[in-house]
């Protein structure tokens, strides 16, 4: 542990203000999201606690019953924006995280198989990835979401909505992961430590999993981090377009969409604060991802 704290990576992190700041910000946002049920001033889904008397209040206005202040204002239903944003962060992070996890599993598996097996399998898998890469991520997500909507009855679709969104975003992210993993796998496959395992007859799948995989996951961390930012944005876009999560579980994107309807009536805070939260979240993730990439590529410094 002491060795680890003294290592160059940790030192590099501690001496990079951007890395420290973005990490701090990210933890703050994640902390807020995870702890939302305990720290949020109100539960925005508990209709008993939401009062229409307080609808569309600007920031810093006192509640009608006078016992507290709406720091970020309220929406048209009288929900506390701060609470809605904390709960929205939860949904955004959950969907983004699940989508990235899904993409990592698919992308790493396909990349590893493609790079290790090579030949015809590689040719087919990589052409599929090529085709996939020609579609913008949001368009892919729209297509997948649309086809699932068409294929399933509405009731089933609604109960599966979270899975559909996670799947459709995840599927748009796997090719970049698969390509990177394939590239590093092809490099590692030719290295002598892999040959040494093959000489004594270690089965191929075990060589790929125990020898190659641990040596190709470095870049995956970077792409996954940057992918999390993209996934959260994609989810926000889908929700904004109205094909994302249902209004009963509003993500940041949903909040922006509904807030946007009132933008011209002067209630700017309904869209601006969720938008700011989304921006800070994605910015923190991307800065951290960039730093991670630089830190893992010694030649860049």
């Amino acid at each position: 542990m002491r060795d680890w704290l003294d290592s160059d990576a940790v030192h590099g992190f501690r001496t990079s203000p951007i890395a420290v700041l973005s990490c701090l910000l990210l933890w703050l946002l994640i902390g807020g999201a995870v702890l939302a049920p305990w720290i949020a001033p109100q539960n925005p889904f508990d209709l008993g606690r939401v009062s229409l008397m307080d609808s569309s209040q600007p920031p810093m206005s006192p509640a009608a019953d006078g016992d507290r202040t709406y720091f970020l204002g309220t929406d048209q239903q009288g929900r506390d924006m701060l609470s809605a944003i904390l709960y929205g962060l939860r949904v955004s992070l959950l969907v983004g995280g699940l989508a990235v996890a899904f993409a990592v599993v698919v992308g790493v598996t396909i990349g590893l198989v493609s790079g290790y097996v090579g030949g015809f399998v590689d040719l087919v898998l990589m052409r599929i990835a090529d085709v996939q890469l020609t579609f913008p991520a949001v368009l892919t997500a729209l297509l997948v979401d649309g086809s699932i909507r068409a294929a399933l009855p509405r009731s089933v679709h609604d109960s599966l909505q979270l899975h559909v969104v996670v799947f459709s975003i995840g599927i748009s992210l796997w090719p970049s992961l698969a390509r990177t993993v394939r590239g590093s796998t092809m490099v590692e496959r030719g290295k002598d430590y892999v040959l040494a395992a093959r000489v004594i007859g270690v089965p191929s799948w075990r060589v790929a999993l125990t020898h190659v995989l641990p040596n190709v996951v470095g870049p995956v961390m970077v792409i996954a981090t940057l992918g999390l930012g993209m996934a959260i944005l994609a989810e926000a876009t889908l929700s904004f377009l109205g094909v994302g999560l249902p209004a009963s579980r509003p993500s940041l994107g949903t909040l922006i969409k509904y807030g946007g309807d009132y933008l011209y009536s002067g209630s700017w805070w309904m869209a601006a604060f969720p938008g700011l939260a989304l921006m800070l979240l994605v910015l923190a993730i991307n800065l951290l991802g960039d730093w991670l990439r630089d830190a893992l590529t010694p030649g860049l410094r």
Partner: protein
């Protein structure tokens, strides 16, 4: 069988496909291009001895090493290990564990994410050579000591070690399955000379103590002379001269062997300044016809340009050279 060699190559050939990618071949109407990396190579390696293959880059010596451990399958000829065809032998764990390999690059040959203990223990676990975790631990400890490392080194990662120490770890891993045959592909080429001496001494000690058989690949003639019982000199995929090390180094017969020996700088050289050698190794994809060495050979005749020479026995040495066969190859 008492006299059965540990490893035997009979007229083994192997070619690489060096053609462009499929699409490029179709679009560019290119044919397949092959590189004959190993051409009609035969040798027998008796137990407890060292056969070295020596030659310049691209001569096919490393390909022979990889053929010997089954990383490549020959296109022609046969390889026998312990009297059985190589793929039959490699299908049996009890035989497969009797061959292992040491590589050139002390960095790439160890998985950077594994602790040394796991690296050395992998063959033991794979072949089930230790009854339980504590038996495994004891075996790894013994191997570490055998190659001159300390037991505590087992808990560290490869990057914590110098090049020489990493090569010791490689050797320990190679010994873990209690092999009879060790295929060593340029094991000291990446090391400094003082460390090279440590590793070469260790390898000779291990051979003596464990009765190991070495197939030793190197471009360094002095190292080869130090290590070998028998030597094969390779040029463009062929063994051009093969025989007991003492005979080859005392009276090299093939013009290429003589060229190589003349080229070696020896700091304490007793020989006068070496002759400048002419020419370079030609493109192996498009080797010269006849004897592949003829463009660089001072003794080349029309026959050499047309006809690939067969082996001529000169005492215990086999030489593939028309000049030697015709008696023109006398040492000046």
């Amino acid at each position: 069988m008492v006299d059965e060699p540990v490893l035997r190559f009979d007229a083994v050939s192997f070619q690489f496909d060096v053609s462009g990618p499929w699409l490029q071949r179709v679009v560019g109407r290119e044919g397949r291009r092959t590189l004959r990396a190993v051409d009609d190579v035969s040798f027998a390696l008796p137990e407890g001895t060292t056969l070295s293959l020596v030659g310049e880059s691209g001569c096919g010596k490393s390909t022979v090493a990889r053929l010997a451990v089954g990383l490549y399958r020959p296109d022609g000829g046969a390889i026998h290990f312990e009297g059985q065809p190589l793929d039959v032998a490699r299908a049996q764990p009890a035989l497969r564990r009797q061959m292992s390999m040491i590589f050139q690059d002390p960095i790439a040959s160890l998985n950077p994410r594994w602790r040394v203990r796991s690296i050395i223990g992998e063959p033991i676990r794979l072949f089930g050579l230790a009854a339980d975790a504590s038996a495994l631990r004891r075996r790894v400890d013994r191997l570490l000591e055998q190659v001159g490392l300390s037991i505590g080194d087992g808990d560290r990662f490869p990057h914590a070690f110098s090049g020489g120490q990493r090569q010791r770890i490689s050797i320990a891993r190679a010994l873990a399955s209690e092999p009879r045959l060790l295929v060593c592909d340029e094991p000291t080429s990446a090391l400094d000379v003082s460390v090279q001496a440590q590793i070469l001494n260790l390898m000779r000690d291990l051979q003596r103590d464990l009765g190991l058989t070495y197939l030793f690949i190197s471009h360094n003639l002095a190292v080869v002379r130090h290590m070998s019982d028998r030597v094969g000199v390779m040029y463009l995929g062929r063994i051009v001269e093969q025989g007991p090390a003492s005979a080859i180094f005392a009276t090299p017969r093939h013009p290429y062997t003589r060229l190589l020996l003349d080229a070696v700088p020896d700091p304490r050289g007793l020989r006068p300044s070496r002759d400048p050698v002419v020419g370079e190794v030609p493109d192996p994809v498009d080797p010269p016809g006849g004897c592949p060495f003829h463009p660089r050979c001072p003794l080349a005749t029309d026959r050499c340009r047309m006809e690939k020479p067969a082996y001529t026995a000169v005492g215990a040495v086999q030489v593939a050279c028309h000049a030697v066969a015709e008696g023109r190859g006398a040492i000046a």
